[in-house]
C-alpha cells in the first residue's frame, strides 16, 4: 500500500515536473534535446524551389540523412545571360530541407571533384559552433559530415561560410531548412519556396557572354540583379506559382543576401499570418514583411479573388529594374463581394 502510494506520488511529481518545464521555459529546446529520434536513419527528401517536401504531419522525431553537393557551374541568370553560380545541389537556392523538432539530422556535404574551391555549410537551424561550418569544410572532391539535433522550430537559412563568405553567398550558396514544431504546421492547400538574393556582376575576362561575381559592387552593396530563386523570371510566365480561389497558400520566404534586406510584398494580397522572421511569433494582417539577409519569414493568406498577384521586393527599384518580381496565379470564380471592377462609371 505504502509502496503504491510512493509510486503514485512519484509518478505525479514526474508529470508535474514535465508540465512545469513545458510551460515555464520560454522555449522548448530543452525538451527537444531530450526527445528520442526513433529508427534507423533514412535519406530525407529535399526539393528545389519553388517546391517543398511533404509536411512532417504528426510523426514523432526520427533520424535523417541529408545529402548536399556543392558545385560551381554556369547557369542562366537573366534572359540569355550566363553567370558562374556556386550552389548546393546545382540549384539556386539550394535544396529545401524539412524536418521537425527533435529530429536528428546527419548532414553529408560533398564537394564536387571539379570544384575549384573548398565549401562548407552553416545552417542557422543548428545549435553548435559555426552552425556546422568548420565540421563540414570540404576540399574539392572531398566529403565532410556532422550530426545535429533540431531543437528550435522555425524557418532557417543555410549558406556556405567558406571565406570570402560574401562571395560564396553572392554566387548563390544558400537555401532554407524548415524545422516544424511537434505536430507540424497547420495544414494549408499550397506551399511554395521562394528565396531572394542580390547578385553583383561583371563581364568575365575568360569567356564572352558570361558574367561573374564583382567584388567591388558587392562591397558597395550595389547589385545588378535582385532575384527570386536565382534567376530573372523564375516565377513568371510558365513558372508562375499557382492556387485556386478558396485555397490557403503558405510561402516559405528566405533571403540569402549577401547584403540587401527584403521588403517582401504580394500585390493585391494581405498576409493573414506572418511567422515573423521565420520564428514562432505570428502576426496578422500584414501588407509587407521585412526579411533580413540571412533571415526568413513564413507568410500565409487565403486566395479570395482570381487573378495574377505580383510578388515583389517592395523596395521597388529592385522589382522594376533588377528582377525581384514573380507572380502567383489564382484561378476560380470571381467574388464580387470582395472585389468588383467598374462600379462607378462617370455618367454623360
Amino acid at each position: 500500500m505504502t509502496n503504491k502510494l510512493i509510486m503514485v506520488s512519484f509518478f505525479m511529481a514526474v508529470i508535474f515536473g514535465a508540465c512545469k518545464s513545458g510551460t515555464n521555459s520560454g522555449n522548448s529546446s530543452q525538451s527537444a534535446i531530450d526527445m528520442i529520434a526513433e529508427g534507423e536513419p533514412k535519406v530525407a527528401e529535399v526539393t528545389g524551389a519553388p517546391k517543398v517536401p511533404a509536411p512532417v504531419g504528426n510523426r514523432g522525431p526520427k533520424k535523417w540523412i541529408v545529402n548536399l553537393e556543392t558545385t560551381e557551374m554556369e547557369g542562366v541568370i537573366a534572359d540569355s545571360i550566363s553567370y558562374t553560380f556556386w550552389t548546393f545541389n546545382n540549384t539556386v537556392p539550394g535544396s529545401f530541407i524539412r524536418v521537425r523538432v527533435g529530429d536528428e539530422v546527419t548532414l553529408n556535404l560533398k564537394n564536387a571533384a571539379n570544384s575549384v574551391l573548398p565549401h562548407n555549410i552553416d545552417l542557422h537551424a543548428v545549435t553548435g559552433p559555426g552552425g556546422g561550418a568548420a565540421a563540414t569544410t570540404a576540399a574539392p572532391g572531398k566529403e565532410a559530415s556532422f550530426t545535429f539535433k533540431a531543437i528550435n522550430p522555425g524557418l532557417y537559412v543555410y549558406h556556405c561560410a567558406a571565406p570570402p563568405v560574401p562571395m560564396h553567398i553572392g554566387n548563390g550558396m544558400y537555401g532554407l531548412i524548415l524545422v516544424e514544431p511537434a505536430g507540424g504546421l497547420p495544414k494549408v492547400d499550397k506551399e511554395y519556396y521562394i528565396m531572394q538574393g542580390d547578385f553583383y556582376t561583371k563581364t568575365s575576362a575568360a569567356k564572352k557572354g558570361l558574367l561573374e561575381f564583382d567584388n567591388d559592387k558587392a562591397v558597395a552593396e550595389n547589385p545588378d540583379y535582385v532575384l527570386f530563386n536565382g534567376k530573372k523570371g523564375s516565377l513568371l510566365g510558365a513558372n508562375m506559382i499557382e492556387a485556386k480561389v478558396g485555397e490557403t497558400v503558405r510561402l516559405f520566404v528566405g533571403n540569402g543576401g549577401p547584403n540587401l534586406t527584403s521588403s517582401f510584398h504580394v500585390i493585391g494580397e494581405i498576409f493573414d499570418n506572418v511567422y515573423l522572421e521565420g520564428g514562432s511569433q505570428i502576426s496578422h494582417n500584414i501588407q509587407t514583411t521585412m526579411i533580413p539577409a540571412g533571415g526568413s519569414a513564413i507568410v500565409e493568406f487565403k486566395c479570395d479573388v482570381p487573378g495574377e498577384y505580383v510578388i515583389v521586393d517592395h523596395s521597388l527599384s529592385r522589382a522594376f529594374n533588377k528582377g525581384a518580381i514573380g507572380k502567383l496565379k489564382v484561378t476560380g470564380d470571381a467574388n464580387p463581394k470582395v472585389f468588383q471592377a467598374g462600379g462607378a462609371v462617370t455618367k454623360e
Partner: protein, 284 residues
C-alpha cells in the same frame, strides 16, 4: 588488483589514442616519411630556379603591425609537371599509384593515371602534376635535392604582379586573380603559357593550387608572431577579423583551400613547385 591496474593502463592508453589519433597519425606518418626519405632515389631536374631576395612582408593572416622576415631563397620558375613526376615514380616505385602507403595519400592519388607508369590519357606531359599529397610532394622535392616553399615564401612571391614585387595595393590585383580562380579545369593546360610575374615566376595563380611546406600553419595557435589571437576563426565573418587585407578575396580563397586540406589529400587542382635555400644575398 593486477587486473585493475591493467584495466587502468588499458583505459589510459585507449583514452590517449582516441584523443591523439590524428596527431599520432601525422607523427607516425612523418616518422615513416623520414625512414622512406633515406631510400629516395635522386632524379635530375632541369627546371630553372629563380632567385628571390626575400625581405619583410605583411602576412595575410596576422597583425597589421608585425612584419615577417623572408630570407632569400630559390624557387622553381614553374610547377612540377606530369612528365617530371612520372620520372620520379619510375625511379621510386614505392611512390607509384599501386605501391604508395595509404598513410601517405588518400584514394585519389594520381587518380587518372592509366597505370603505375602511364600518365592519364590525353594528359599533357608539361601540364602540372595534380592528385598528389603533401607527402608525395615532399618526397619529390627531396629526389631533386630541393624542398617545398614555405607558406611565407609562397605568399611573398604571390604579392607580385607582372610589373611590381608587391601589387597588393592595386585594386585590380586581387580581382584579376579572383577571376582566374572562378575558372574550372585550368590544371590541364601546359605550364609557362602565360606571362611570368615580376620575379620571373610562372603560373602562380592561373593553373593550380600549390602545396606549401607548412600549409597548415595558418591553423596553429600560439603563433609566436601573432600571440594575441590564438583562436583564428576562418569561417563566416570571423575570417575578416584576423586578416590584414579584407578586400584581398584571392588570398581568402587560397587560405580557405589550405585550411580544408590534410597532408594525405590528393585533389584535382592541387600540385606543387619546389624551392631551395640559398646563401647568395644580393642577386637579381
Amino acid at each position: 588488483m593486477k587486473v585493475l591496474i591493467l584495466l587502468q593502463i588499458a583505459f589510459v592508453v585507449l583514452f590517449y589514442s582516441c584523443n591523439k589519433q590524428n596527431v599520432k597519425l601525422d607523427i607516425s606518418a612523418a616518422n615513416e616519411s623520414k625512414l622512406i626519405s633515406n631510400t629516395i632515389h635522386s632524379i635530375s631536374s632541369d627546371v630553372k630556379m629563380v632567385y628571390i631576395p626575400g625581405g619583410e612582408y605583411k602576412p595575410f593572416y596576422g597583425s597589421e603591425y608585425v612584419l615577417t622576415k623572408v630570407a632569400p631563397f630559390l624557387v622553381d620558375e614553374r610547377a612540377v609537371t606530369n612528365e617530371e613526376f612520372l620520372a620520379f615514380v619510375k625511379a621510386n616505385p614505392q611512390w607509384s599509384k599501386s605501391n604508395i602507403k595509404k598513410i601517405f595519400a588518400d584514394s585519389t592519388y594520381l587518380r587518372d593515371w592509366q597505370s603505375d607508369t602511364e600518365l592519364p590519357k590525353n594528359a599533357k606531359p608539361d601540364a602540372p602534376i595534380c592528385f598528389v599529397s603533401w607527402f608525395a610532394a615532399k618526397a619529390y622535392a627531396q629526389s631533386v635535392g630541393k624542398r617545398l616553399p614555405t607558406l611565407d615564401e609562397w605568399e611573398f612571391i604571390a604579392m607580385a604582379d607582372e610589373t611590381s614585387p608587391n601589387a597588393r595595393a592595386k585594386p585590380e590585383y586581387s580581382s584579376n586573380i579572383t577571376s582566374l580562380y572562378l575558372q574550372k579545369e585550368r590544371q590541364y593546360y601546359s605550364v609557362k603559357q602565360s606571362k611570368p610575374n615580376y620575379w620571373g615566376v610562372y603560373n602562380i595563380f592561373d593553373l593550380i593550387w600549390e602545396w606549401t611546406d607548412d600549409f597548415n600553419s595558418v591553423l596553429t595557435t600560439n603563433d609566436s608572431r601573432t600571440g594575441q589571437y590564438e583562436d583564428k576563426d576562418l569561417f563566416c565573418a570571423g575570417s575578416a577579423t584576423s586578416s590584414t587585407d579584407v578586400l584581398n578575396y584571392a588570398a581568402f580563397m587560397r587560405f580557405a583551400l589550405r585550411v580544408s586540406v590534410k597532408a594525405n589529400y590528393t585533389i584535382a587542382n592541387l600540385g606543387f613547385r619546389c624551392a631551395k635555400d640559398t646563401s647568395i644575398n644580393n642577386k637579381k
